[in-house]
């Protein structure tokens, strides 16, 4: 290893790739390491949903700003990025959930995000495969989907064009002040960015990130079966419990006509094996919302690990106990959406520029309450 980069990024998932892109644009010489290949970890396991979320003000700020950054980049992205502005359709099962949808609508409207409240009939028209008898829903038209490995590859290619180096198949074994130790030797840089996702605590002990397993299923092509990313509003409830395994109805049409069917969440460490009980419950829940799914051929099932934090916000910023170390990790199930905001914010922090949104809520060393 000869030339000394300005910044070393550990992890070439979509978050690391976004950091590489913005840092390179900021004039830094960047080297990215990944133990596997770019976009092959959590990035490849997820749905690729680009969604504005209202869990907290900070989550809204990061997701909506990231979406604007994506809008700026989309015209330059290749077809392989599979971007489609399909919108999100939040489904309310009953009046209580429809009230929650109304609250969500007010929240979004106050912050300039267009939404559309649907009654039962309109919901059926928007997604005819949904079972009758649902209360209604909320459509968020600006949300979309991408194919995350391709977006990751594109971000890295842009960074490479600006002088970055991407070293795949090289594991970073340790992080030292202003240096990393790899299987191929020691490399120094002014900034080290730990963007290793769920694996980040291995290099930076003390990071409050745990792997949170999820299952997904993809079907054979069924063009026109579904038009939106369709999610039950109960997802918010199930996504919030950190304890027991939970499932929620979540269906996404891909540009190929295939459907991604999810979702599940469980804390079982790094056990990637199929949990057939969870998978079965997840599929039964999906079929209960969209009975027609039951007849579609399922092609394959896989699991992945979301990098989860106790307060469901990512860690973006300096890690003060190690000189020159920065963190960009812990994005849970929103890393595809928030990668660009993360990369941009981290670059501003490193270069001493004021970020577009307040970085305080994402500070890597913030004090977090335990999971509820």
């Amino acid at each position: 290893m000869t030339s000394r980069p300005d910044a070393i990024i550990v992890g070439a998932g979509i978050v690391g790739a976004a950091c590489a892109y913005y840092l390179s644009r900021g004039g830094l010489r960047v080297t990215v390491f990944d133990e596997g290949f770019a976009g092959g970890g959590t990035t490849a396991a997820g749905m690729g949903h680009i969604v504005v979320m209202d869990d907290s003000e900070a989550q809204f700020a990061l997701t909506s700003w990231s979406q604007r950054l994506l809008d700026d980049l989309l015209p330059a992205m290749p077809r392989a990025a599979e971007y489609e502005r399909c919108g999100t359709l939040w489904v309310a099962e009953d009046d209580e959930q429809l009230d929650a949808a109304r609250g969500k609508r007010t929240y979004y409207r106050d912050r300039g995000v267009e939404t559309e409240l649907l009654d039962a009939r309109q919901l059926g028209e928007a997604e005819p495969q949904l079972r009758p008898g649902l209360a209604g829903g909320l459509r968020v038209p600006a949300d979309g989907v991408v194919y995350p490995p391709a977006v990751t590859r594109w971000l890295l290619d842009q960074a490479i064009h600006l002088g970055a180096t991407v070293r795949e198949g090289v594991a970073v074994e340790g992080v030292a002040p202003r240096a990393v130790l790899t299987g191929a030797g020691r490399l120094e840089a002014d900034c080290i960015i730990n963007a290793a996702g769920a694996g980040a605590p291995r290099l930076t002990p003390g990071l409050p990130i745990v792997p949170r397993k999820g299952h997904l299923v993809i079907t054979d092509r069924a063009p026109g079966f579904s038009r939106h990313q369709v999610i039950e509003l109960g997802y918010l409830r199930s996504a919030h419990t950190m304890s027991a395994a939970s499932v929620a109805f979540n269906v996404q049409p891909r540009i190929t006509g295939q459907l991604l069917v999810g979702s599940s969440r469980e804390l079982v460490g790094w056990d990637a094996s199929l949990n057939r009980d969870v998978l079965g419950r997840m599929l039964e829940r999906a079929c209960s919302f969209m009975p027609g799914l039951a007849a579609l051929p399922a092609l394959r099932t896989w699991t992945g690990f979301r990098p989860a934090t106790p307060d469901k916000l990512p860690l973006i910023g300096a890690w003060p106990s190690v000189d020159g170390l920065w963190i960009a990790a812990g994005h849970e199930g929103l890393g595809i959406t928030t990668a660009l905001g993360t990369g941009s914010m981290l670059t501003d922090l490193i270069l001493g520029r004021p970020p577009a949104i307040d970085p305080a809520p994402y500070a890597a060393d913030r004090v977090m309450a335990e999971a509820h």
């Binding site: 490995p149 057939r276 079965g280 039951a294 399922a298 394959r300």
Partner: protein, 420 residues
Amino acid sequence: MAVIGGGPAGIAAAAVAAGLGRSVVLLDASPRPGGQIWRHRDRGTLPVGARDWLGRLEASDATVLSGANVVDVAPGFRLGADVQGRAVTVAAGAVVLATGAQELFLPFPGWTLPGVVGVGGAQALLKAGMDVRGKRVAIAGTGPLLLPVAAALARAGADLRMVAEQAPPREVRRFAASLWRTPARLVQAALYRSAFATVRYRWGTWVKRVSERDGALLVTWTTGRSTWAEPADLLCTAAGLVPCTELARLLGCELSGEAVVVDHEQQTSVPGLYAAGEPTGNTGMEAALIEGAIAGFAAAGQGAGARALWPSRARHRDFSRRASEAFRLRPELRARAEPDTIVCRCEDVTLASIAPGWSVREAKLATRAGMGSCQGRVCGPALRHLLGTSADTVRVPVVPTPLGVLAGLTAQRDDSRGAS
């Protein structure tokens, strides 16, 4: 005990174990037992050995589940099957994998054109009633399977123009000469050959490319030294067989090349999991019967019965080894694909779009190769041969399964549904 696959190996395993008093369920994807080799045939036309084994299976207490696609096996073993659209789960203490083999398709320019089918595929189409009368048919492939397929096409009235064996003449001759050790095979080969006696049967000849001309196929043949083109209506071609090992890989069995590694008792590296027949790399019906019987004895705890069959298995393995050496694929077959040749026909992925050095998963994520409805069953072995990549992870379900059936297979209930 569960036996997966109802060909000769599975039939033998199930009949032997059930005969020893074991509770056996045989799960077979076909409408009735027999496998690729004995399927679609009236019992009366089957060879005596086949009739004997099918009779033994029927006379036994083994439960046969036909139309059963085993799409999941959880460690332990809990099998999930799609039985004609019904979710059926089976808990078994031991499992015999008798999943057979499939054709190996090595891409060449034009291999995805209509009118280009597999060699075994042509046989299956014939058995299903395909009309080939008067059609100009050419066969290109390798190994002993060429002869019965050629004979069947000739008997069905095809205008058979060419039977091409890719192996070099000296290898085929040496193999044929070695058949004196098994005279029955020699007689069988001669009988098949007599059915298409007037047709060219060329050794050391293979297809270089196929194109369309005047509503027919134009097949470019080559021997390496000379190259020429001939028209055909149907081209039956494959590069031999490759074991079906999806379930074995799902369960983490050790593999050697494409074959499942087994011990003397046909047990895989996973305790309680056995493999017999084609999956172990031993080709042919005779080897499958012996291996299936050994697996049936061993899984039933009757080591002595298994040991008695070892010498016979050794003879068949010897034949299988000689066959695989003689009909080893020539390297030219791997070099036929051009940059714009499709390697994954489900997703229209060309060879050029796959970068050298990519792992199969990397290629999949970057190009969608193997992401289509065949889930890499066709392009997976091809890419392994073409690019030397290792096998991709097997995902549940191992064959496409209606989502509702998969849900029923995996959701655990108090009223657990068992087949036996």
